[in-house]
């Protein structure tokens, strides 16, 4: 147990660190964005290209969240509840997306699905365009946010144990009923948190999406790509406005989930 003075110093360092790293840049960006009031911000966010970018980001994020919620819960159940050969390998592989740079992910996707490769060419012949189109962007986003739901849910699933499910079985509940009525309520907060993290990650993804999207303005441009493109074209108000909008959405959902989440131990 550190002394009272030690604790105070520790707290000051932690707060200072977070201020310098997080609050200061975010605060400055907000300040710059709203330097001329809310009017120009609103104007920048409602332009045709901005609206389109938001739509693209929104649809990519929704698909990615749905896909990763289903696969995350499924994988968590598989990894926690079952023992099979290769389980540890799978457990390690699932974290790969966190370790690999998103740019590498993007390049890898182009290698698999690009026009110049066998599989990509075959897909193109059948009218499925992956690279430089929404499917590729969804794939990239799903990949980079793959473990987030799983890593939130798995420890809770482990802690809850299997006895409640077994009790439900002996009371006549099918595996699906036991999952829906017993397991799901037990993991609901971890699941919600994982979904929020996935959503935040999907909204903010830049690198992998930049590589596979081709950055076609008005077509495959996401909100983050919009920020970059506007900034490069000296339209800083639009870039800042979108950046703040993205940050606000992310902070907003995190706040909501933290407010909804019951206090530990209650």
């Amino acid at each position: 147990m550190p002394s009272r003075g030690g604790r105070g110093a520790l707290r000051a360092v932690a707060v200072g660190y977070l201020l310098a790293l997080l609050a200061l840049p975010l605060g400055l960006i907000c300040w710059r964005t709203f330097a001329n009031g809310a009017g120009p911000v609103w104007h920048a966010l409602t332009s045709a290209s901005a609206r389109h970018a938001l739509e693209v980001t929104g649809s990519v994020a929704v698909v990615a969240v749905v896909a990763n919620t289903l696969s995350g819960v499924g994988l968590a159940v598989l990894l926690v509840r079952h023992r099979f050969p290769g389980r540890r390998l799978l457990d390690a592989l699932v974290d790969l997306p966190l370790a690999v740079s998103p740019v590498v992910v993007g390049l890898a996707l182009i290698l698999v699905y690009g026009r110049t490769t066998g599989f990509g060419a075959w897909l193109a012949e059948h009218g499925v365009k992956v690279i430089f189109a929404l499917p590729g962007m969804v794939l990239a986003t799903v990949f980079v946010s793959l473990p987030l739901v799983l890593r939130e849910v798995a420890p809770v699933l482990e802690e809850v144990g299997i006895e409640q499910e077994q009790a439900a079985w002996t009371l006549g509940a099918s595996a699906a009923q036991a999952f829906r009525r017993v397991t799901l309520p037990a993991i609901r907060w971890a699941l919600a948190y994982g979904v929020v993290l996935t959503l935040a990650r999907a909204l903010g993804e830049y690198g992998a999406v930049a590589v596979v999207s081709g950055r076609l303005v008005g077509k495959t441009q996401t909100a983050t790509l919009f920020v970059e493109e506007r900034y490069q074209n000296f339209d800083q108000p639009a870039a800042y406005a979108m950046a703040v909008a993205l940050a606000a959405v992310a902070v907003g959902i995190l706040l909501v989930i933290n407010l909804l989440r019951p206090r530990e131990g209650s």
């Binding site: 409640q164 077994q166 009790a167 439900a168 002996t170 009371l171 006549g172 037990a186």
Partner: protein, 320 residues
């Protein structure tokens, strides 16, 4: 419903949890599976419930082969040592669970839940959550939940193992009374011989994955099949390589026919009983349990020499 288990075998890796176990549990009985931890009794119970598949052997419940039936279709009620309460549901919600799964009409569910909560004396806690209950209350709720669906067989895995001594005692007596009221075939696992003797009609002693003996509490105590059963069911001491109950030994202050000499090492008073530790010159130690009156008559004090022999008809077992 009677339960018949035939030639059950179960291994976990190289560990043999059960080796060729066969038992018959009569319909309507209250049976204890008694044995030391890791002896296989919980595994046996879980196989009967369908929560664990056997490697070999069969399970019959009420005459039908249930070996491959999933737990949902065995019509068993199962009570876990750590309650397995549905934490996000109220007590009433927990008890109603099985009935709701069976899509019974709401009014019928409510009536049955009220009935069961009354049976387990939990009426006033219907709207509480498991976190707001004591261990004993949670276990009573778990029992009501298991009984709600009117199982043919009630299985309890160390039901009182996580409770403190006082609550344990109360719940034991209460389980016995409950069984007399409900008459459902009940099997419970315990490692506490006192619990098994007090509650059960019949005890199955299981050790190292094998059935050591099956019988009523009196049979097991008075006619143990082997040294393990004798040692597990009550206190034993050793006289000339033979296990004998310390209260089946008598002490004399002068040699009697077939008695042996021993020197008193220690005298411990436990209320009415007196425990006398003795040492036989070079032939090992033993202890004898006598009454306070006997101890006073013999003037038992450390250092004196006494003569020991088993009483007529003493229960003994070879040193297995």
């Amino acid at each position: 419903m009677a339960i018949t288990v035939s030639h059950l075998t179960k291994r976990f890796g190289t560990f043999a949890a059960l080796s060729d176990v066969s038992i018959d549990i009569p319909a309507g009985s209250l049976t204890a599976l008694l044995g030391p931890s890791g002896g296989g009794k919980s595994t046996l119970l879980r196989i009967i419930a369908g929560l664990e598949p056997p490697d070999a052997g069969t399970v019959q419940i009420g005459g039908t082969d249930s070996t491959t039936l999933p737990p949902q279709r065995r019509n068993v009620g199962f009570v876990f040592q750590h309650y397995a309460a549905f934490k996000h549901m109220t007590v009433a919600g927990n008890v109603a669970f099985g009935l709701e799964i069976r899509r019974q009409p709401k009014a019928a569910v409510k009536r049955r839940v009220d009935e069961l909560l009354e049976l387990v004396h939990m009426e006033q806690f219907a709207d509480r959550y498991p976190a707001q209950l004591s261990g004993g209350q949670r276990q009573r709720m778990a029992l009501a939940r298991a009984l709600a669906v009117e199982p043919e067989v009630l299985l309890l895995d160390e039901p009182f193992g996580a409770l403190d001594a006082q609550v344990r005692k109360e719940l034991r007596a209460w389980l016995r009374r409950l069984h007399d009221e409900v008459h459902v075939t009940t099997v419970f696992v315990t490692h506490d011989q006192e619990e098994a003797m007090e509650v059960a009609d019949e005890i199955v002693v299981i050790n190292n994955g094998r059935v050591e003996q099956v019988g009523t509490p009196d049979e097991l105590y008075d006619k143990p099949a082997n040294a393990f059963v004798m040692g597990f069911l009550g206190p034993v001491t050793r006289l000339d390589g033979v296990l004998v109950r310390p209260h089946d030994l008598e002490l004399f202050d002068r040699p009697e026919p077939s008695s042996v000499a021993a020197t008193v090492q220690r005298v411990v008073r436990l209320g009415f009983e007196v425990r006398v530790d003795l040492e036989r010159d070079g032939k090992g130690e033993l202890w004898v349990q006598i009454t306070r009156g006997e101890a006073e008559k013999l003037a038992v004090t450390p250092g004196i020499e006494l003569f020991v022999r088993p009483v007529a008809g003493a229960v003994t077992a070879g040193d297995g």
